[in-house]
Amino acid sequence: MRRIIIALLVLIVSSMFPGCGGVFFRQWPQPSEHLPVSHELDSVPFYPQEAYQCGPASLSMVLTWSGIQANPETITPEVFTPSRKGSLQSAMIGAARRHGRLAYLITGPDSMFEEVAAGHPVIVLQNLGLSWYPVWHYAVVVGYDLHKGTVILHSGVTPRKRLSFRVFYNTWARSDYWGLLVLPPSRLPAMVTKHNYISAVLGLEKARKWRAATEGYNTALARWPDSLSAHMGLGNSYYALGDLESAEAAFREAARRFPTDGMAYNNLAQVLWAQGKQQDALEAACRAVDLGGPLVEEYRRTLKEIQAGKP
């Protein structure tokens, strides 16, 4: 009895989450109000790849589409080609960020269609070989046709190469449907979550692309005005840029929305202090310490520094 229930459970769950159990053949999506029957992007340039350079070629195509001057010669040194796919995937993400572009991983194969329908090319990682002898290959999806059952790719030395869904899914499945969006920070992916988007913008901060980060956080705030992380990120990025006025405004807004959280007050105190507004800085720092929380030691340190009048 128990075994029957378990089998039933597995069947139900794996059929409701496609890709989970692999028991059923993957169906391609049905057209709907936000997913037209077919769509093709005209504005993605094609760069033929040299040997082993599918990564730089793919990244160049999408970077150029996103408004950055890039070609495989300039990108290749930024994206090394080691034998293990792992480091290369993170190198692609890192290189995108260094050019001030958001690197956003898609979650699941169906997202790919939504993104292309929204006008975003998707870099995909395929295994063109065998599971025990992989031949990893990056290509750029620039279109699809749900009626014909094809995907259109800039791949290798072939622009607008048409591949049947079955072959495409088979080769793509082996990378666990790895897909990367490279977007200007003014854009949101079609299928987006607050956390993943803000993490992507955080990636720009870490790459020290402060200006792009401010754009990204503003984009996030337009969609999720209640995100403390986005407000704090905006303030931190302005601070890093040296734009103290805008940083102050961002932290004041964060403090207004989240009056019980010390983090906004702490950073506000720092920014006020950096502008020489000693009294206001002291007030904000005290407020942070009063609010307490797990970061209270940081707040105390800030307060001490301001009280000591250190420059």
Partner: protein, 144 residues
């Protein structure tokens, strides 16, 4: 030649990625870094999102139509761990906006409900106090 370069580069990249993932010294002294904020707020924001979703009139109506008490659904969602709450919120949040999304949204909540109920009955989890841990318990979920 590439293979000779590849190994030290891979190691360098791995170290860089590890450094990026360490908690969380801000680049600027005294400032709370954005990553710290993101981590601190993530699970609470996920729970807030789930609670808001369950409080929606259309979601409540769908749950009731399926024979589920919204309060029970809330209790089950509250019982999720931080990681599970974050995972569920992410899945729900990512659905494309539109009318049909409601059906998928409620479906996802239902699945959590059903799965937790079944695994509880099987004895793999112990989420619901009303589930007795022996095989004579009436399996209402089979009728759903």
């Amino acid at each position: 030649m590439i293979r000779r370069v590849a190994k030290p580069v891979s190691i360098l990249l791995t170290i860089c990625m590890l450094l990026l993932s360490l908690p969380h010294k801000s680049a600027f002294a005294g400032m709370i870094g954005t990553e710290t904020v993101l981590d601190a707020t993530r699970s609470q924001e996920a729970r807030d999102y789930l609670n808001r979703t369950l409080a929606r009139e259309d979601v409540r109506a769908s749950l009731i139509a399926q024979g589920i008490d919204p309060l029970e659904a809330k209790a089950r969602v509250d019982s999720l761990s931080d990681a599970e709450a974050v995972s569920l919120a992410d899945q729900l949040e990512e659905l494309p906006a539109g009318g049909s999304a409601l059906g998928i949204l409620v479906g996802a909540i239902l699945i959590v409900f059903i799965v937790l109920l079944i695994t509880d009955i099987l004895g793999y989890t112990d989420v619901f106090p009303f589930v007795k841990k022996h095989s004579e318990v009436k399996k209402d979920s089979d009728n759903k």
